[in-house]
């Protein structure tokens, strides 16, 4: 990193001055905690005994057969609460506890981060409020119920496209009103420094486990990218290894593939905006990918050529979703189905060893799929 909080030309802290004090405090405390033995041990224990880590690395004979190479699935869908989001939520909730904050707030798109944050808050005994776009509340209603059962207060966000972008806006505005008491538990590697770094650190457990679990070195890593937390968690520990990395975005929300350099939600990165600089609304079948920006570290991976970014259409993701259920007996999250779809449609060599991050489970997506197919599954 050239400058603190930057990944090449990307990242930084493009936020109102009112938040600078809280960000400084958070950076200082996080940098101290990540070296503290007690903190590390507590998080490790929670990840193992509570969240169910390490998650299996599963060799998929069927995808391998289809692709003509070796394909492994990193089973983040088997984490407690059903997605990789819990890795970060537990880590940050412990930070919030150490900072003595009175309340946790979180944004959520698919609801997976909201559920993970509400879960961590319930476990650690902190109040929790979740901001969620009303469109997402409707299409991920199961997760809304889960959060409510966990004791979180849900704050519906009606503005704009009523999805993840507006939920982040609302959470940041709320946080800026009382940064001394509120801890903002951001769910992806986006936002101002230190969030992209902290979320990446907490998610890096994914890639670290793959390194231990796979006897041979993979040739390719593939993961879906919305904000980019499961992908950066898989990629980062392999940064220096000679292997290819591919991030797969939703075609209707492909900030890295179709966007330009700009600033949204506190970070300089690739953003989807029109020629006047107004941020465009996105459209994806997968709520967790339905976001106009992407984490700054991915912007750096793209421009430096460390990773490549591709996109998958809604229809391709749906096809992969069905295929996975029928052939593997796994219901993948629609987000993860984008990564699987890209792998299934790409050309591979026999010696290729591909690891796909299966970032979450797809039970939450049944209402969306039902609607897309016009009733029954």
């Amino acid at each position: 990193m050239k400058k603190r909080g930057y990944y090449g030309a990307f990242g930084g802290r493009y936020v109102p001055e009112t938040l600078m004090g809280a960000l400084n405090e958070l950076t200082r405390e996080y940098n101290r905690l990540k070296r503290e033995r007690e903190f590390k041990e507590r998080l490790k224990k929670l990840l193992e005994d509570y969240a169910g880590r390490p998650t299996p690395l599963y060799f998929s004979e069927k995808i391998s057969g289809l692709c003509g190479c070796s394909v492994y699935l990193k089973r983040e869908d088997l984490c407690h609460t059903g997605a990789h989001k819990i890795n970060n939520a537990l880590g940050q909730a412990l930070v919030a506890l150490k900072l003595g904050k009175k309340e946790i707030i979180a944004e959520t798109g698919a609801g997976q981060h909201g559920v993970a944050a509400a879960t961590a808050a319930a476990l650690l005994g902190i109040d929790c409020r979740v901001f969620m776009g009303s469109k997402d509340m409707e299409r991920q209603s199961e997760n809304v119920s889960r959060m409510e059962l966990l004791g979180a207060r849900i704050h519906p966000v009606e503005e704009g496209s009523a999805t993840l972008k507006e939920a982040v806006n609302a959470a940041v505005r709320c946080w800026s009103g009382n940064p001394e008491d509120i801890y903002y538990l951001l769910g992806s590697c986006v936002g101002p420094h230190p969030y992209p770094m902290m979320v990446r650190d907490f998610q890096s457990v994914i890639g670290k486990e793959v390194k231990m679990q796979l006897k041979k070195t993979p040739t390719h890593l593939v993961a879906c990218v919305g904000g980019g937390s499961n992908s950066i968690g898989l990629f980062y520990p392999f940064f220096k290894d000679k292997i290819k990395m591919t991030g797969v975005e939703a075609a209707g929300a492909a900030s890295l593939v179709n966007g330009n350099v700009g600033v949204l939600h506190g970070a300089k990165s690739y953003i989807l905006y029109d020629r006047d600089g107004q941020v465009r609304n996105t459209h994806s079948i997968a709520p967790g990918l339905d976001y106009s920006a992407v984490g700054p570290e991915h912007a750096f991976y793209k421009t430096s050529g460390r990773a490549e970014y591709r996109k998958a259409e809604d229809s391709q993701a749906l096809k992969a979703f069905d295929w996975m259920i029928r052939n593997e007996g796994i219901i993948p999250a629609l987000e993860s189905a984008h990564a699987i779809a890209w792998v299934m449609e790409n050309k591979w060599k026999r010696d290729d060893v591909v690891v796909i991050c299966l970032s979450g489970r797809g039970e939450k997506d049944l209402p969306i799929v039902r609607k897309m197919k016009g009733c029954g599954l």
Partner: protein
Amino acid sequence: MKRLEDKVAELSSSGRTGLSFFLTGGYPSMESFKELVKYIDKNSLADFLEIGIPFSDPLADGPVIQKTSLDAIREGATLPGIIRAVGEMKDEIDIPLVLMSYINPFYALGLERVFRDAAEAGFSALIIPDMPFGEDPAIEKAAMSHGLDTIYLAAPSCNENRIKKISSRSRPFLYYVSSYGVTGARKKLPRKLSSGLQGAVKVSDVPVYCGFGISTPQQAADIAEYADGIIIGSAFLKKIDGDKSSYFKEIRKFAISVRKEIDKGYT
């Protein structure tokens, strides 16, 4: 058009409290926006105006500015369009203007081009709410090369040292944010505001103007005891609604009552 730095210097030497209002560019329509600027100028309702560029995701703004921004965007307002509209008025008006914009529209259009056009249109300075002091000095430099000052914001969370640093680069004044949270009228301003403001005034290299949440003439007067100037946004903007002749009357009445209160004690 008068330059902001001259106006601020003039106010400082006379000891009179500066008064500024915020308008969303292109709201309620581009034509009405231009008429508003001219009306405020002609009736000397303010010492300068902040012209906000509507943005899709105004993180630092509350409901009023969010709404006027979305309305203006729907009406077709853009950064170049607003700069053009100001350029068209520059020979008819005297009041100094400040350009307030989130950073993304600047990136979209290119810093050099925007700053050149804004300076040519007559803007004196920039306020960028999502660019805290120290984050991107290249922007301040590019603005300066076109003759635009950068006004930085300071907040209640700043210690004296940070306020001093910010004020050393903020021109022609330091914008002190009254309270945590987004823009918008507040029934009560924080109790600590007066001590925070006094501290800022004590260490600042430049005059200190205070904004965020100021909604009544009495609040303005309370703050004017310590601040060199007052900036009112949402409470002013809220009056611009409905029939033109009635909101002209409304803003005039409001501006005069604020002026009267903050001028008490000024001879």
